[in-house]
């Protein structure tokens, strides 16, 4: 229910120590305190999280889908940027 009194918030959850917070969805809430509680109630019911962030959706600056040609296509032809052109010695283990 989108009303001026309940703006949209984006929810980020960190599932384990050492992991990054990941975007999981959005919700409506009156303010930051209630948004945090709603995030807990809606997105962590099955033990998904150790830490929750909520961010006003209005605070996010997003790329324009119409710009995806110039924004992202130039990277597609640069395969040499992937670290796949050298061999990792077995002794190094998991990287």
């Amino acid at each position: 229910m989108a009303t001026p009194n309940t703006p949209l918030w984006e929810v980020f959850i960190r599932s384990r120590n050492g992991m990054a917070h990941k975007h999981v969805g959005s919700l409506h809430a009156t303010d930051a305190t209630m948004a945090l509680q709603a995030a807990r109630d809606v997105y962590t019911r099955r033990g998904e999280g150790l830490s929750v962030w909520v961010v006003p959706s209005a605070a996010i600056t997003a790329s324009d889908p119409a710009d995806k040609g110039m924004m992202f296509e130039p990277a597609e032809s640069k395969v040499y940027r992937h670290p796949t052109f050298y061999e990792v010695p077995d002794e190094v283990g998991h990287m």
Binding site: M1, T6, L27, H28, A29, T30, T33, M34, Q37, A38, R40, D41, V42, R45
Partner: protein, 249 residues
């Protein structure tokens, strides 16, 4: 019934009946987020009820189980607070009721964690974390409803005034309870009153709501004398087991 079985049964009935009331909001809350929040609180309470019913049934050792206690007793055999069985009313009354109960339940479980009865102490340790959140969530809502619009303020004040006479029952202790209090098994509810009163006074003040004056208090639920609302609640809650005895899925 032994004092301990009755004690567990009374607290289980509080949790089940209030949990059922909250479940009535499922699919009907003003917004999805609060629909989930109320259902979560209801599920926490029903989980607390299960632990307590299982314990009461074990103490009775007469073949009763948790399902029989929940689904096959009539209203006079229920021992819950009248506060828990009142209809939800509007959202404000629902929230204020959770708040008034949780403001008691949280210190109650904290006190019960020190019970000399290990089983009760273990149930309390789990329940306290749940009740602490119920208190936080409902208190934030009370503040926003009270200090919100003219209409939300009016509804919240009406809820506080309506529910207030039902709060005295939380602090009752009869002879059966006294025996457990003296044995270090049960927490003396009167000892929780200062903490409850402080929480309630602070939140009502933040919410710009008027604190009701001290006055006459309702009583009877602990002895099985209920309002007319409990029978209707049980009719719905117990329908399946009454119509299809022993049904499982």
């Amino acid at each position: 019934m032994t004092p301990l079985a009755l004690y567990a049964l009374r607290r289980a009935d509080d949790a089940l009946i209030l949990g059922h009331r909250l479940s009535e909001w499922c699919g009907h809350a003003p917004m999805l987020e609060e629909d989930m929040a109320l259902a979560n609180i209801g599920l926490d309470l029903i989980g607390q009820a299960r632990s307590l019913y299982q314990y009461a049934a074990e103490i009775r050792a007469d073949g009763t189980d948790e399902d029989q206690l929940a689904y096959l007793r009539d209203a006079p055999a229920y021992r819950n607070l009248l506060l828990a069985e009142l209809p939800n009313g509007d959202f404000a009354r629902t929230i204020v009721r959770v708040f008034l109960y949780a403001a008691f339940a949280d210190p109650f479980w904290q006190g019960t964690m020190r019970s000399s009865d290990e089983r009760l102490a273990a149930i309390a340790a789990k329940s306290e974390k749940e009740s602490a959140y119920h208190l936080r969530h409902s208190a934030e809502w009370v503040i926003r409803l009270g200090d919100g619009t003219q209409e939300s303020h009016r509804r919240a004040q009406e809820a506080v005034d309506y529910l207030w006479p039902y709060t005295g029952e939380m602090f009752e202790a009869d002879a059966s309870d006294r025996e457990l209090i003296e044995g270090g098994i049960a927490v003396d509810p009167e000892s929780l009153r200062p903490a409850w009163a402080k929480t309630v006074a602070e939140v009502l003040a933040d919410a710009t709501l008027k604190h009701p004056p001290a006055g006459w208090m309702q009583s009877g639920g602990r002895a099985g004398r209920h309002s007319e609302h409990l029978g209707h609640l049980l009719a719905e809650m117990q329908f399946l087991q009454r119509a299809y005895p022993g049904a499982t899925w």
